[in-house]
């Protein structure tokens, strides 16, 4: 692991240099909360790397809401991908990116559109220095700092950042701006570890009421047929915001339509909460009731995800909890209630 230090003054210059060669997406505070935004040189003073994850997830940058993927015959769509740098991705954002990578880039088939977008993006991530009331990464085996998939990671200091190199691509960014970086004093590395520990403790404290005895996957397996789900999901109004705001919900629909006298095919985000999501042509609907669909979303993230992708597909970002939910359902509250309701006779798979 190679680490460097960059001062706050030099960091501003570093961003200017990056803007000379690439588009730059960075967290900027708007209406009191951090949002990802494409920035220009004059926005550099507004970039906020302290704090916690942005309101919206990263997925839009790799997997757009709507994307033309083919057409009925003739020259095919080519997956080009747009190169840019993402600054300020958090540990949970990168866990989410890992899930999308597994879905779209692995298996017998790859999605060439995602792969092209992904290949051209450089990720400069950052440790959290605070957490939102709904953050719960540590409940789902995550941590408030990036451990994977970054090219460079920034750990905020009193002056500047400790910069960890994750890939040769990240090292190249350091090499081409050598004068801006210096050796890291030992005290700064201690500060970095102390901040990480402090955040871990803070998250533990904030989520004290939501700690469960059983592993979440086991809780879900044991409640697969529990009618308690009806009660737990009674406030859901099917708005599907949880699907859209989630960094790992990646359902889509292939939509064909006429445009300019040509039939084109689009890949459009879909939402498993919608009533017609799983309905078949004959009219049968395997998840006809809303509680079944919300239960399925939980199982998708905490149960089925292990067989499919070998991990939880909830990253604990808390975007879908309370503020992100029209019914103000708190996922963590569901975990606790679910554990209370584990039937003693429930069979394990």
């Amino acid at each position: 692991m190679t680490e460097h230090h960059i001062s706050s003054a030099n960091f501003g210059r570093f961003l200017e240099k990056l803007l000379d060669v690439s588009r730059l997406i960075a967290p900027v505070e708007e209406f009191g909360k951090p949002h990802f935004k494409e920035i220009s040189a004059r926005d550099i003073p507004d970039v906020r790397l302290a704090g916690y994850r942005t309101v919206e997830s990263l997925k839009t940058y790799f997997y757009p809401l709507i994307e033309k993927v083919s057409r009925y015959f003739g020259e095919d769509e080519s997956a080009r991908g747009e190169g840019f740098i993402i600054l300020g991705a958090r540990g949970c954002d990168l866990e989410g990116l890992e899930v999308l990578d597994k879905v779209f880039s692995e298996g017998d088939f790859q999605d060439p559109f995602y792969v092209a977008n992904r290949d051209k993006v450089t990720v400069i991530s950052a440790d959290c220095t605070d957490c939102a009331d709904t953050c719960f990464c540590t409940l789902v085996k995550g941590q408030p700092y990036p451990v994977k998939l970054f090219d460079l990671n920034l750990s905020p200091q009193k002056d500047g950042y400790v910069v960890e190199v994750g890939t040769p691509k990240g090292q190249a960014l350091i090499d081409s701006n050598k004068g801006l970086f210096s050796k890291v004093p030992k005290a700064f590395l201690d500060d970095k570890e102390n901040n990480r520990r402090r955040l871990g403790d803070l998250l533990m404290e904030k989520n004290r009421d939501f700690k469960t005895r059983l592993d979440l996957s086991e809780t879900h397996k044991r409640n697969l047929e529990n009618t308690a789900w009806k009660q737990l999901t009674k406030d859901c109004v099917e708005c599907s915001n949880c699907n859209y705001i989630c960094p790992t919900c990646s359902c889509f629909l292939l939509l064909d339509q006429e445009a300019d006298k040509q039939s084109e095919r689009y890949k459009v985000w879909d939402a498993c909460l919608k009533s017609g999501y799983a309905k078949v042509a004959g009219g049968a609907n395997p998840r006809g009731e809303l509680f079944m669909r919300l239960q399925n979303r939980y199982h998708c993230k905490f149960d089925y995800s292990f067989d499919r992708l070998g991990r939880f597909t909830c990253v604990g970002c808390g975007r879908c909890c309370l503020d992100g939910c029209a019914g103000r359902i708190d996922m963590r509250r569901v975990f606790v209630e679910l554990e209370k309701k584990v039937p003693l006779t429930a069979k394990l798979k």
């Binding site: 993927v69 083919s70 009925y72 015959f73 095919d76 769509e77 080519s78 997956a79 879905v103 779209f104 298996g107 017998d108 088939f109 790859q110 999605d111 060439p112 792969v115 092209a116 697969l224 047929e225 990646s250 359902c251 889509f252 629909l253 292939l254 939509l255 064909d256 339509q257 006429e258 039939s263 095919r265 890949k267 879909d270 498993c272 999501y277 799983a278 309905k279 078949v280 042509a281 004959g282 009219g283 049968a284 395997p286 399925n296 998708c300 149960d303 089925y304 292990f306 067989d307 499919r308 798979k349």
Partner: protein, 271 residues
């Protein structure tokens, strides 16, 4: 660049055959080589309207043309039913896993179908035809709503002449001239039809029919691993990416569409 899995291959409609008042068979000639194995499905796209997943109904060994028997059920299939020979469609696939036909060698094959479920089963039976010397016997039990809803009526008469093949049909509601059984397909699944301990059952039909047929087969003594079900789900991408056809941990498009009851029995109400 990776191959684009969303690209439809142009296929011309060579012939349209009206099977029943609601089912038509489309004979398609793909512009690029395409083939399938019995049990796999393809995405048939009506330009500008959308795609629907169908299992081909023709002999998998014949690849110059591929046939699909389609029931008019929604917007895309309604438009498809208006299409004529010469028009073009889009095809993607084949997707999913086929029936493990070699595993059926030396056994009785109990084929149970309902409604338009006979379409994939026609491809299955035509594939079995090449294996007749290796099978003990084929027992087909098929149900339709009325006598006029039975597809492939003249072909069924030919299938009855195959070696060791027996076909029994039933309708939910009879009509003048119908001399066969009246009642749901479960009423013609009789103990003794096949040697349960050395048989496989292959079932295809609407979800509600599959549910009750599976229950009946289990009551007859079939083991879950010997009941092969062709699951109907709302497949969109066909390649395990879009999550629409999720069935427990499985994706029907890539892990199915053919599952044994043993594989899916612990999923609450898998239909």
């Amino acid at each position: 660049m990776h191959e684009n899995p969303y690209r439809p291959i142009k296929a011309q409609i060579e012939k349209v055959i009206t099977e029943t008042p609601t089912i038509k068979t489309f004979v398609l000639r793909p512009g690029e080589p395409m083939s399938f194995l019995s049990g796999q499905f393809m995405q048939v796209g009506v330009p500008g309207m959308g795609e629907c997943p169908f299992t081909p109904s023709s002999d998998p060994k014949k690849t110059a043309t591929i046939e699909f028997s389609v029931m008019k059920a929604g917007a895309v299939t309604a438009r498809l039913h208006e299409m004529k020979a010469g028009e073009v469609l889009g095809l993607r696939g084949p997707y999913g896993k086929p029936y493990p036909i070699k595993d059926y060698h030396g056994k009785d094959v109990y084929v149970v179908g309902g409604g338009v479920g006979l379409a994939p089963l026609r491809a299955f039976l035509l594939a079995l035809r090449h294996e007749l010397d290796h099978l003990n016997k084929i027992e087909v039990r098929f149900g339709a709503r009325t006598p006029s809803d039975i597809s492939y009526q003249t072909q069924i008469e030919d299938w009855k002449k195959w070696k060791n093949t027996n076909i029994v049909m039933t309708v939910d509601a009879g009509a003048p001239g119908w001399k066969g059984n009246v009642g749901l397909v479960t009423t013609i699944l009789k103990d003794g039809d096949v040697d349960i301990k050395n048989s496989v059952a292959v079932v295809c039909g609407p979800p509600i029919m599959m549910k009750f047929v599976t229950k009946r087969l289990l009551d007859m003594g079939f083991a879950g691993k010997d009941i092969y079900l062709s699951m109907e789900k709302n497949m969109s991408c066909g390649i395990g990416k879009c999550f629409h056809c999720s069935l427990g941990s499985y994706f029907v498009c890539k892990d199915g569409p053919v599952f044994t009851w043993e594989q899916i029995k612990d999923i609450p109400d898998p239909w």
